[in-house]
Every structure is written in C-alpha cells, then in structure tokens.
Symmetry: C2
Subunit: 187 residues, 2 copies
C-alpha cells in the first residue's frame, strides 16, 4: 500500500511491489488478479486501516467540533512523525490521478468523500442540536471534506509543519465561527 500511497498508481511498477512487499510475482497475481485489483485492495485496506481509526472520533455518536479538531491535529502530528513531505491521503491522491479515467476506482473515492461529509455532518449537527440533513450543516460538512483533502494534498509539497498547523487551525476557527453564526440565527 505504501508504494502506491507515496508514488501513485502509474509510477508504481509490479517489480516495485514485488521488491517492497517481498511477495513473489506469482502470489500477487494468484491472490489479487492484477495490478488494478491489487490497487483496489489497497484502497480498501487504506480505508479500513488508516481512515477508520483516524476518523472514528468524528464518526462517534457524540462526535463534535472538538473531535474534528482532534482528527486534524492528529493527522498533522502523524505527518510530523513520519517526516515531510507527507504522503497525503491515498483517496485524494487517487482522485487526482485516476478519478477522471477509471469509473470503478472513482466510485471508491466518491464513497470516501461521502463518508467524510457524512461524518462531519453528524458531528456538526450535534453542535447545534440539528439533524445532519440540515442544509447549512450539509454544505458546511461538504466544504470541510474538500478543504481537508486540500490540506492533505498540500502536505505532499511542503516542508513546513507549522504552515500545516496554521491551516488546520484556521479551518477549525472558521467552522467554529460559522457554528456560532448558525446558533445565533436559529435562536
């Protein structure tokens, strides 16, 4: 998975995968079928092993803005641990590289965006005691998903961890501001 994550799909050869995983060519083809099927399996594994634990706090029943802030903060902290430049989000990287060219893969990435939006919407809904289907909440959640992906993409090109922290903090700040604005207008 890491090879695809760092280098992308096209720039990763089967020889790379054999050498970095230690798994023989034959085994890869008999277990997965081919390069694309292996990649799809990596997307699933990324979803389960990387996204699910990182996003669990937001998706929790009692998720709130603090959970979203923690998700971002942990993400940036993890990037710092692993060293810059970062790998970004495999889903976001894949959307950029293969989104317009492979419907099967696009479906997976779209589902990821939907999941992010849904998770953010629930957490934001808890903040204002509204259902996540509230129009303003849905819009704000969708924007959050796009902005967060923009942040992870940006992380692939910067060597300044502080700029990442600033942008994450600014995002949370803006969302908080919007929430108080919504609360005032509801009242």
């Amino acid at each position: 998975m890491h090879q695809f994550w760092v280098h992308g799909y096209e720039a990763t050869s089967m020889a790379d995968l054999v050498s970095t995983t230690g798994v023989g060519r034959g085994a890869i083809y008999s277990d997965f079928g081919g390069k694309k099927e292996l990649f799809l399996a990596c997307l699933s594994h990324f979803r389960d092993a990387a996204v699910t634990p990182a996003f669990a706090g937001v998706e929790a029943e009692d998720g709130d803005l603090a959970a979203i802030a923690a998700y971002l903060k942990d993400g940036v902290a993890q990037i710092q641990e692993l060293g810059l430049p970062a790998r970004g989000c495999l889903m976001g990287n894949t959307l950029t590289e293969l989104g317009p060219h492979d419907d099967e893969i696009l479906k997976v990435v779209r589902a990821h965006y939907g999941r992010l939006t849904r998770g953010f919407a629930c957490a934001l809904g808890n903040e204002i005691d509204q259902t996540p289907s509230n129009g303003q909440i849905r819009d704000l959640a969708g924007f959050l998903a796009v902005s967060v992906q923009g942040l992870w993409a940006y992380a692939r090109g910067t060597d300044n961890i502080q700029s990442l922290n600033n942008k994450a903090a600014t995002l949370i700040d803006l969302v908080e501001l919007k929430l108080t604005s919504i609360r005032a207008q509801v009242r």
Copy 2:
C-alpha cells in the same frame, strides 16, 4: 498542455503528445529537450495562459472579497462549460503526482501556491484596511489557497456542478464571516 492537464505526467506518452499536438517527434526534442522539459514548459504556459487571466481580478490593486468570489464563480462556470468531470488545476494535479518526487517541479508548484496566497492576502487586506502581512490575513489567505486547490481537485471526480457551487459559496461565506469578525475585533 491539455494532455498533461487531463491525464497527468506519467500517463501521458510522447506518442500521445505527438498525435494530439500534431508536432513531430523531432521538433519536440529539438525545441524542448525531452518530456520533462516539455512538461515544465507546459507548467509555465499554464501559469501565464490560464492562471494569470483567471486570477487577475484578485491580484488587482483594488482586489477584494468580491474579486475572490468572482474568481471562484468564473472557475466553476468554466468547468460547467467544458463539462464534468473537470481537469482540476494543473498545478494542484502536479503537486499530488510529482510533488514529493521532483524538486525542480515542486519549486514551480510551490511558487504557484505562494502566488495564490499572496494574491488572496492582498485582496483580503484591502477588505480590512490592513497590510497583507497581518498574521490573521496571511493565515486566512494560506487557508484559502489550500481550500481552493481542494475544490479543483474535487472537481475531477464529481458530475454535480451544484455541489461545486455550494462548496465555493460556502468558502466565500466563511471568509466573509471571518472578515467581519476581524473587523469587529480591530474596532
């Protein structure tokens, strides 16, 4: 340029470039030197022919939030004209694909992010009669650059123009809210 823009660097072969441009192989190599040099020339051409005119309103002496909103609105309108899914931003696509792997290209993309941030900062500074070097303005501008790139990346995977409009409108809405908050705190 379009070939790189749509398909990315790795997925574009010299044969593709020869057939889509109508320029002979020999001419490409004698004029540019090779694939990577041609790609760098495309990045420059993208900057001058696509970014500069689209971003001119924001970079103008009297740029303001309305100019930023117009930049986004025009961008989405152009995407709608050309049909979804969109091509995204060549700079953003390149950051994701090649950012961590080619320093020379990364330099160009970073310069683009710097340009966006600077343009946004000036326009936002005009809104609150502050210098663009104001800390809050700089942070907000940097966040704007990242969010906008996230939006163009998202455009590569959606077939719903309305969702793009919503996200762009939400971004402007949040920035406006933040500006009024800054104004209140300055007063």
